[in-house]
């Protein structure tokens, strides 16, 4: 978001006020509202896939059930825990930014990024496993174990949804990296200057939010 750009810092503790804003309050208000709108677009972006999932699950219930049994629940659960914890550290980063503890902000974001990497690595293992099994989308589906109409569709949706989510994880990571560098370099976050951190972590929470819904739908039922 360019909104976060508005808080590029001139004097320590107080972000630069873009000339067209009436006051800092207004600027932060605008930035936050902008971020929420952007997040809503993200939600509707994923909504398309959720609709596909909902409809096809409704049409092929037993196929979806059978297929979901073939996902690695342990890996999925671990990933969920990792992501939730990364969300916690991101939230704490905002907390410390408000208190002006830039080192801790950097540390928290560092932890978040580390966990994000862990998440991607685990996902990678899962994917490779699926490739070996031949549990692949549509025409590439080769898994002899489960032969039901609708199963290839399930894996199409599985790969599209998790793939799109992973893509968002990567974007989120790059945003957090940028913020971490900011925290280390400028070390001037404070009660009046934490919007950038807040927005960045909001994006990360959205990534978490999406996964919170993807996990039970894909792995558990």
């Amino acid at each position: 978001m360019s909104s976060s750009a508005h808080t590029a810092v001139a004097t320590p503790g107080v972000p630069r006020l873009a000339q067209h804003f009436a006051s800092l309050e207004v600027q932060n208000h605008a930035a936050r509202l902008g971020m929420w709108l952007f997040l809503s677009t993200e939600i509707l972006l994923f909504a398309g896939l959720f609709v596909c999932y909902g409809c096809y699950r409704y049409l092929f219930p037993e196929a979806f059930a059978a297929a979901s049994r073939h996902l690695d629940l342990t890996m999925g659960t671990v990933n969920t825990v990792v992501l939730i914890t990364s969300s916690l550290t991101a939230a704490l980063a905002v907390h410390y930014a408000k208190e002006g503890k830039s080192n801790l902000v950097a540390l928290m974001f560092g932890l978040t990024i580390a966990m994000a990497c862990a998440f991607l690595v685990i996902k990678g293992f899962e994917y490779s496993h699926k490739f070996e099994e031949g549990a692949l989308p549509g025409p590439y589906y080769r898994m002899q174990a489960v032969q039901l109409p609708g199963v290839p569709l399930y894996f199409t949706i599985y790969f599209l949804a998790t793939g799109l989510h992973a893509f968002h994880v990567i974007i989120g990571m790059s945003v957090l990296v940028w913020l971490m560098i900011k925290a280390i370099r400028e070390r001037n976050f404070g009660p009046n200057n934490y919007t950038a951190v807040e927005l960045g972590s909001m994006y990360w929470h959205l990534v978490d939010l999406v996964w919170i819904f993807l996990f039970p739908l894909l792995y558990l039922i």
């Binding site: 609709v51 409809c55 916690l88 032969q147 909001m202």
Partner: protein
């Protein structure tokens, strides 16, 4: 001074809390994850989906309210979220209602809402087989028409 008021109000809502609430939320999320995994493993008949979705919704709400501070961000911010969720639900409801109430043979073959068999899975063929010729695989559905059609060329 309407605008200034709005922004000022927003700024007022941003009072600072201790970090405790984050840890609490985190713990709650972990517990709920555990619960949903267990209930999921049980494969409760009929209610599995409902339970899982309920738990997911609770978790999502926690994240939205506390991690994303929607509890502090009032007004338009909440409206935005509410509306987008509403639209997602609408987008989900109407197509599903469509499948449920459609002329049965117009539903995807092989689904429990259709009486037609799915050609790709007739005698344990792999799904890949249907890929040859793309939609032509559907040609075989002429079974009801008394077999007046030649076999679909794509079959050869």
């Amino acid at each position: 001074m309407s605008v200034a008021n709005e922004s000022h109000q927003e700024a007022q809502n941003m009072e600072h809390h201790g970090s405790g609430r984050y840890w609490l939320v985190w713990a709650a999320l972990l517990v709920l994850t555990l619960v949903t995994v267990i209930t999921g493993r049980m494969h409760i008949p009929n209610f599995a989906l409902a339970v899982a979705l309920l738990i997911a919704t609770v978790k999502g709400t926690l994240v939205l309210l506390f991690f994303m501070h929607l509890i502090d961000h009032k007004g338009a911010n909440r409206l935005v979220m509410a509306v987008s969720v509403l639209f997602v639900l609408m987008m989900l409801a109407m197509p599903m209602a469509d499948f449920a109430t459609r002329f049965r043979p117009a539903n995807p073959a092989g689904s429990h809402l259709s009486d037609l068999p799915d050609l790709n899975f007739l005698e344990g063929k792999t799904g890949a087989h249907g890929s040859t010729g793309g939609a032509h695989g559907a040609g075989g559905h002429e079974a009801p028409s008394g077999g007046h059609e030649a076999p679909s060329p794509s079959g050869h």
